[in-house]
Amino acid sequence: GAGVSQSPSNKVTEKGKDVELRCDPISGHTALYWYRQRLGQGLEFLIYFQGNSAPDKSGLPSDRFSAERTGESVSTLTIQRTQQEDSAVYLCASSLSRTVYEQYFGPGTRLTVT
């Protein structure tokens, strides 16, 4: 079956521009996570969506970052006024529910801010 997909796979943008990253979770997965992975670093939690519950936004590093999810489907992560320190791989993961713990990751979007 189809896994988690993300687009674009690579994005190069100029400092100050806005970018939008997309995540398509596995069909039927109600939980969706966004992480940031800087080069050679671990995974940094950004935001969590679970069904129609209020998302956990506690990991968003600044108000330039926002994310939306339509129901239990696609999610978009938006970074406004990008900065060079935003350069990283942005990973999306989904899981069947909040009580099923295995997370299935997409391949990530590599963002480079020049």
């Binding site: 996570y33 671990g42 939690f45 969590y48 679970q50 909040r98 713990y101 997370q103 391949p107 990530g108």
Partner: protein, 113 residues
Amino acid sequence: QQQVKQSPQSLIVQKGGISIINCAYENTAFDYFPWYQQFPGKGPALLIAIRPDVSEKKEGRFTISFNKSAKQFSLHIMDSQPGDSATYFCAPLYSGGYQKVTFGIGTKLQVIP
């Protein structure tokens, strides 16, 4: 507050050797202890996980050992192969309710022929 401490950050092992990666945690409520494997250019994927009701779990060449009193668990890769070269992350969590998952910093394993 560093809830999860993973070591070493990098590891070089000869083919056929044993790779050992450790994860120490602080939260005694954690009750699910997974290891994820990430190849370059890919997202992490669950490799093996353990619950605290057992002290060891083996799947093929991969074994998790769990030490509840020491609050740590480890991944052992027996007969390490070049194809095991990847980055490994621990990500313990509490299953009784939503809690954002804290991943370890990762261990980059290189298995040399």
